[in-house]
């Protein structure tokens, strides 16, 4: 009954810095700060056009204009300012759409995996049917029906991607439901619903969080794709996807219009997916 060995796992918490957790967090914090303080940070109005200043190169190339750090696009709009404002839309879409997909999908997955029977059959068939549609085509179709706008984009992503959560969470719930701690909760007088929420859900939460952050990355991409094909919000509004679409035509003589939004899109998606893995490890008492 000596308790000398059992304190060892706790000490490991102060191990080497978890880069998988902190690097993505740093970038996402930067993007969040840019989104919140956009009016203060952006050097110019993102919609302000000035044809005298079109296609200015970024600061490190000869011919740049002071104040226009990352150059301007073909209408003379400041790339940096548009990117900063674009972060707003990217984040709003990624947080709300991913959260909506997560809540719906996780609830469906928990019900299907825990109650089984007809619940499982109905939900699983629904997921199968849903996933038979090509997702991007489905999104384009939905936005075309609902009309463009931020709300439609969010709704389209949530409606398409809840299946991602439902499938994984259903499988995990089925594994957890067979564990003795569920029976032992029943022995301890818990209702089935209580066992699901307070016993099984905490064991599935790391996967939910990992999927949620992954989904945030996916939502950023889907929003960019929809902007790219001009189905997101109005083409005037600065979004990373729309900037990439505009920059595509001028890539040979104004590559910066395409490249900088692409880098921030890439880093944001990468950060979200790495963060999921990092968080999963951080919050798992067994893995620590």
């Amino acid at each position: 009954m000596a308790d000398t060995t059992t304190s060892a796992p706790r000490a490991r918490r102060i191990g080497p810095v978890n880069l998988r957790l902190w690097l993505p967090l740093l970038w996402i914090a930067l993007v969040i700060a840019a989104a919140i303080f956009a009016p203060l940070l952006a050097p110019h109005d993102p919609l302000e056009q000035d044809l005298m200043l079109e296609r200015l190169p970024p600061w490190f190339i000869a011919g740049s204009e002071p104040g226009y750090w990352l150059g301007t696009d073909s209408l003379g709009r400041d790339v940096l300012s548009r990117m900063i404002y674009g972060a707003r839309i990217a984040l709003i879409v990624s947080f709300t759409a991913a959260l909506a997909a997560c809540v719906v999908g996780t609830a469906m997955g928990l019900i299907a995996g825990f109650y089984g029977g007809w619940w499982d059959r109905v939900i699983s068939r629904l997921v199968d049917i849903w996933m038979a549609f090509p997702p991007v085509l489905f999104a384009v179709l939905l936005v075309a029906v609902l009309g463009t706008g931020l709300g439609s984009v969010i709704l389209a992503i949530a409606v398409i991607d809840w299946t991602r959560f439902a499938r994984v969470i259903r499988a995990e719930t089925m594994v957890q439901a067979r564990m003795d701690y569920v029976d032992s909760a029943r022995i301890g007088g818990a209702r089935r619903m209580t066992a699901l929420i307070s016993e099984i859900l905490p064991n599935i939460l790391p996967s939910v969080i990992a999927l949620l952050t992954l989904e945030m990355g996916i939502a950023v991409i889907v929003e960019a794709i929809l902007s790219f094909v001009n189905l997101s919000i109005s083409s005037d509004d600065p979004t990373w996807g729309a900037m990439i679409a505009e920059g595509r035509g001028a890539i040979h003589f104004a590559w910066w219009v395409l490249l900088f939004p692409l880098i921030s899109l890439f880093l944001t998606v990468l950060s979200f997916s790495t963060l999921g893995e990092g968080l999963k490890r951080h919050f798992d008492p067994v893995l620590q």
């Binding site: 003795d180 022995i187 818990a190 307070s198 067994v286």
Partner: protein, 269 residues
């Protein structure tokens, strides 16, 4: 001694999905083939049998994690065999269970004190951290263990937490399902003597499932020997062990490892 449990003609079968035809219901495997017995109050009753004899299934019917196909299960005179989940809930306080594998039966996400105190809270028997610490004290674990997670404990400590959770509700009946089979020999002895002391002090009725007759002999007052879902032997431990009436019991008894002392083995270099 009155009977806490009276079981009459108990039958239970599981669908055999491996042999399910494309259409129609799967054939059923009979696990419990209609047996009747009494479990006397205040005593420790051993349930033995080989793997697949139905001993764990029978135990799970007693605590109503499983519902029998037919037959009666009388607990203290009340038929509980076919009660619904809601009607069972008030009775569950008296029908506790200690599981075989505490790694699986203790939720890895909850701290020890929470694991112990949640059932107490549901039955209005306290449920604070100090109540959990008091329960830990009864099973010989220091208060510091309340803040730990199950994976931070050794096998014997985990099984003590399982016992603490069961006794914290002050039940009348505890089912112990192979609770020492995953432990090393010295932890086995400690956990068994702890269970025996607690059962005596609290006047508990215990059903102790095991495949190991030497454990049964040390712990139990009565023994039931199962084979393929039927009772082949039952009675007080001494009687069954002295005069086994079935071949199965004789086989199980002969499987008990006996120390073969070679005279003078200790003297040799």
């Amino acid at each position: 001694m009155s009977a806490l449990f009276s079981v009459r003609d108990l039958r239970l079968s599981f669908p055999d999905r491996a042999h399910k035809p494309l259409f129609g219901a799967a054939p059923r495997n009979e696990v419990l083939k209609g047996f009747s017995l009494d479990i006397p109050e205040g005593q420790i009753t051993g349930i033995v049998g080989e793997s697949g004899s139905g001993k764990s299934t029978f135990g799970r019917v007693l605590v109503r994690l499983l519902e029998p196909d037919s037959g009666q299960v009388l607990f203290d005179g009340q038929e509980i065999g076919h009660l619904g989940e809601a009607a069972l809930r008030p009775l569950r306080r008296d029908l506790q269970m200690i599981f075989q594998d505490p790694m699986s039966s203790l939720n890895p996400r909850h701290r020890v004190w929470r694991i112990i105190s949640q059932p107490m809270k549901r039955y209005g028997r306290g449920g604070t951290k100090s109540d959990a610490i008091a329960a830990l004290d009864k099973v010989g674990l220091p208060p510091a263990f309340a803040e730990r997670y199950p994976h931070e404990l050794s096998g014997g400590q985990r099984q003590r937490v399982g016992i603490a959770r069961a006794i914290a509700l002050e039940p009348r009946f505890i089912l112990a399902d192979e609770i020492v089979s995953g432990l090393d020999v010295s932890s086995q002895a400690q956990v068994l003597s702890l269970l025996k002391d607690l059962a005596r002090d609290m006047g508990l009725t215990v059903a102790f499932i095991s495949h190991d007759l030497s454990v049964i002999r040390h712990l139990c007052d009565n023994v039931i020997v199962l084979n393929h879902g039927e009772i082949v032997d039952h009675g007080p431990v001494a009687e069954v062990f002295e005069r086994p009436s079935s071949e199965i019991t004789k086989t199980l008894l002969s499987a008990i490892p006996l120390p073969e002392l070679d005279a003078g083995w200790f003297d040799e270099p």
